[in-house]
């Protein structure tokens, strides 16, 4: 392995100047990097080269990939709206393997445990590396240094930015859609593989060289609404089954029953109430995690008691959020990812339930985005350190196990709160220094643990509002000491020099690296 030249970035992390043979810019600080140049421009196409009747159907995925010119070294993208029920990405690489194509870069918007199926293709060289989240088995595989290339981890907004800016040039985008017409108009609303929306595939449709839409529910033109516009699409393919419905969308999103997590949610809601974050016309970021759902329910109670409502909720939709919309407690759901069937139903029938994309919500290289307008974002983390820096991709033992998702982008909301346990089993969550830096502490305002709430000293306004409060406000150092007292002082993970993945910041600069775990 050639010597990699490293440089210390603005966060003090040693990062390379080159990844997979391409130059990269080290992180310079929040808002310090100036983007320059023009956006990536795909080729000009002409109607005369496409069927005049708009029928772009081809028989099979393999045929479509062959027509799209799949060959060695290409970048192929998929989206993750099918979540753990995705069959398409796996089929795509089955075909690539069959065609004998090598050294592909897989560029998913996220990966799930079901993609463990791809490990043999990483081993045999069909896939060179993954640019996208690497969860569970794929993360472990990468952490063992077994992937040929270096993984690149981006936020949802960062993925849009990278495509738009031409950092990643998608050769072929394969977009699975629950409903599509032969022209390529597509949505995620109707059919057995319904996912609600298809926002994560937007950049792929706009900027990829070739776009293939695959559906298991082909309808005659026009497929409306066209969340994906057929005018971007080269080929359409009909298959029997895109995904495993029970694993795509949960029919039963549930609020956590864990008393410890409910306590965190209750403390978070109380904090938001006491600091005036919950006010008439406010907005919040909502997720599908058990704690996050529970926070929403506590918000609901407070809003009902006060007779106020929220202007909008941003993020993943689910039956709890839908019930708030239908009861008039929220004017709009700005949905980035639909988590259950109630969310799908609501989006199809309620004009107040709006689908969004990483472009509208998160893209840092645009003329603003929605994330910054949100009053409060409630997020998770695997680790937080005494400088409020947080990690969401690796565990304290060094293994890469999660993606970034929209997490980095949401850090730009007005107040960022991380409700997290002080320790998990014996693993302290509040520590000296995060294993991998994913979010700079200056953007993280509040840590809520079951044993105390720490407010970032930069937020003097919040600290002022908490004077006289009964909430257990402590310093982040006190929380760290308490975690160490209970668990013992943890030793740091042991790494080899080999870089297995890099973490990008929302502006495309390199924030940190993930190294091979010493086993």
């Amino acid at each position: 392995m050639p010597e990699t030249k490293l440089i210390k970035n603005a966060a003090g992390r040693s990062v390379p100047l080159e990844i997979n043979g391409k130059p990269v810019v080290p992180y310079k600080g929040v808002g310090k990097h100036n983007a320059a140049g023009a956006k990536h421009g795909p080729e000009i196409y002409s109607c005369k080269d496409f069927p005049s009747d708009g029928n772009k159907r081809v028989g099979t995925l393999m045929e479509a990939l062959k027509k799209a010119g799949l060959r060695d070294g290409m970048t192929v993208s998929t989206h993750h709206h099918f979540r753990n029920g995705d069959l398409l990405a796996n089929q795509l690489f089955d075909v690539a393997k069959e065609m004998g194509v090598k050294d592909l870069c897989w560029f998913p918007s996220a990966s799930f445990p079901c993609h463990e199926h791809l490990i043999p293709y990483l081993e045999d060289g069909t896939i060179h590396h993954i640019e996208g989240s690497m969860n569970g088995a794929l993360g472990r595989f990468a952490s063992q240094g077994k992937m040929k290339g270096v993984g690149v981890l981006r936020s949802h907004g960062g993925r849009y930015q990278a495509v738009q800016d031409g950092e990643v040039k998608i050769d072929i985008a394969v977009i699975g859609a629950a409903c599509a017409d032969p022209f390529g108009n597509a949505n995620g609303l109707y059919g057995d593989s319904a996912t609600g929306l298809l926002g994560f595939a937007l950049a792929d449709s706009q900027y990829a060289d070739k776009v293939i839409v695959v559906t298991d529910n082909m309808v005659p033109f026009p497929c409306v609404p066209w969340q994906i516009q057929g005018n971007y699409v080269d080929y359409t393919v009909e298959v029997d089954k895109l995904g495993d419905p029970e694993k795509i969308i949960s029919g039963t999103t549930r609020i956590t029953k864990s008393p410890d997590r409910l306590l965190l949610a209750e403390m978070t809601a109380k904090f938001c109430d006491e600091t005036g974050i919950i006010h008439d016309g406010f907005s919040f970021q909502s997720g599908a995690g058990g704690t996050s759902l529970a926070v929403g329910e506590y918000f609901k109670k407070i809003m009902q008691e006060k007779g106020i409502k929220a202007r909008f909720a941003r993020g993943g939709s689910n039956k709890y959020l839908v019930s708030m919309l239908e009861e008039g407690l929220i004017d709009y759901i700005l949905d980035g990812q639909t988590f259950d069937l109630e969310g799908v139903r609501s989006m199809a029938e309620n004009p107040g339930h709006v689908w969004t994309s990483p472009f509208t919500s998160y893209n840092y290289h645009g003329k603003g985005n929605f994330a910054g307008m949100v009053d409060v974002a409630i997020l998770g983390a695997t680790e937080v350190d005494i400088n409020f820096n947080a990690n969401v991709v690796t565990h304290s033992d060094g293994y890469l196990l999660h993606g970034i998702g929209g997490w980095q982008n949401c850090l730009f909301s007005k107040t960022v709160i991380l409700p997290i346990p002080l320790f998990r089993d014996r693993i302290p969550v509040v520590i000296d220094e995060v294993t991998t830096l994913c979010g700079p502490g200056e953007l993280i305002d509040v840590i809520v643990t079951e044993r105390g709430i720490a407010v970032n000293p930069l937020r003097t306004d919040l600290l002022e509002k908490l004077k006289g409060s009964n909430l257990p406000v402590k310093s982040i150092n006190e929380l760290k000491d308490e975690a160490e007292k209970i668990c013992g002082k943890p030793e740091k993970a042991h790494f080899d020099d080999q870089i297995i993945a890099v973490v990008k910041w929302v502006d495309g600069t390199v924030l940190d690296v993930v190294r091979k775990v010493k086993e």
Partner: protein
């Protein structure tokens, strides 16, 4: 080493186990202490776990042994207890490997404290103990009785002992439910030296049982030179117990409350337990009366449908109206409901404050009679109002007046 056994196991392992561990010991002829550690926190704590195990094995004077430890993120007090439980199967050592008492756990028992909520924690489940105090129950009960399988009693004693020293219960009253006598007397040896505040005695039916426990506690207090009291809370769980409630309540000065256990009581009565609990109305009112006659607190049974918060709320309201002053919980989410319902209502507090204001005004003016508007107020009414106001202040429901 008089024991025959060369192999011993303790603890638990499996895909769902968290914050606990499994220990297997095999005595060997030679080779020293060998440790085979499989731990999910090996990266962070591998060396310190091995050090703890070595220290403990050496403490028990064992020189040659193979230890297999499967650890699912257990804290040191748990690892240590599991290891000791295994050692005691292969060695007849009388020694105990006792961890330090953390400073936060050194607070003394208080006779007249509130006992609205007391949270049951299975004595052999370390995971549930860790955050128990964070949920702010008035008391935690480390249970050695029904929630512990018969074969796990010794493991549980050691775990409860270590938990009493190492787990921060954040000011909750520290209670242990011992086994039925005579086993319960043996349990006392593992808990009395470790700042236990209240011993819960199950299935009490007569004063003699209380005397036995009292005597054993007293022996241990003398032996360990403990300079504080240990209180008792007998549990009435049979028809005979109900009939003897007053005798039990007044059997010792250190009995601070009686609790009623409706699961066993309904079985003994041959009736079906319902949420409305009319079938035990007599037993409960009789026990309340016995407690008040003896000047101690009456504590109600647990409400077992964890999912039914509204049912719990109704139950607590009835319980309070009957004269109970607290209730058991089997889930942390029940605690805040119980506190809320045992606490005086806003109207009650306002009325009590008015009465107290009138009382202080009368005293200031040197009047012998307290009046609120045109109504004369008796002294017992003032006393009750004072209790309500004090309670409200303590619960943070009103400012100190």
């Amino acid at each position: 080493m008089g024991k025959q056994q060369n192999i011993a196991e303790a603890g638990i392992t499996g895909p769902k186990v968290r914050s606990d561990c499994y220990v297997k010991l095999e005595l060997t002829e030679k080779g020293g202490i060998r440790i085979d550690l499989d731990s999910k926190v090996k990266t962070m704590y591998g060396p310190s776990i091995e050090q703890l195990c070595c220290d403990e094995i050496e403490f028990f004077g064992i020189n040659n042994i193979k230890l297999t430890l499967k650890d699912a993120g257990a804290l040191p007090f748990t690892i240590s207890a599991r290891l000791e439980a295994a050692v005691k199967q292969i060695s007849d050592t009388g020694k105990e490997f006792i961890p330090d008492m953390i400073d936060e756990n050194k607070y003394p028992p208080v006779r007249d404290r509130f006992r609205f909520s007391r949270l049951y924690l299975p004595g052999n489940n370390p995971k549930m103990m860790l955050n128990a105090g964070v949920h702010n129950p008035d008391g935690v009960i480390l249970d050695l009785e029904d929630s512990v399988a018969p074969l796990k009693k010794m493991e549980a004693r050691l775990l409860v002992r270590n938990a009493l020293r190492q787990v921060n219960f954040y000011g909750s009253e520290r209670m242990v439910r011992i086994n039925q006598l005579p086993d319960g007397l043996e349990d006392l040896k593992y808990i009395i030296p470790h700042n236990v505040h209240v011993v819960l005695i199950p299935k009490c039916e007569n004063a003699l049982q209380i005397k036995q426990v009292e005597e054993e506690i007293s022996n241990l207090i003398n032996k360990h030179k403990i300079r504080q009291e240990v209180f008792m809370m007998p549990i009435i769980e049979t028809a005979l117990g109900v009939e003897k409630a007053f005798e039990i309540a007044s059997a010792s000065e250190d009995v601070v409350a009686l609790a009623i256990g409706l699961e066993d009581l309904t079985a003994d009565l041959g009736v079906i337990r319902t949420n409305e609990a009319t079938e035990t109305l007599y037993a409960r009112t009789r026990m309340v009366n016995a407690c008040k006659a003896a000047g101690i607190q009456a504590i109600d049974s647990v409400f077992s449908d964890v999912g039914d918060i509204e049912g719990l709320r109704q139950n607590v309201k009835i319980s309070r109206s009957l004269g109970f002053e607290g209730m058991g919980c089997i889930h942390p989410r029940q605690i805040s409901i119980i506190h809320e319902c045992f606490a005086p209502s806003k109207e009650e507090i306002e009325k009590a404050q008015k009465i107290m204001d009138a009382f202080y005004l009368a005293r200031e003016k040197g009047l012998g009679v307290v009046a609120l508007g045109s109504k004369m107020i008796d002294l017992p009414v003032v006393k009750r109002a004072e209790k309500t106001v004090n309670l409200a202040v303590k619960l943070g429901l009103t400012r100190n007046t």
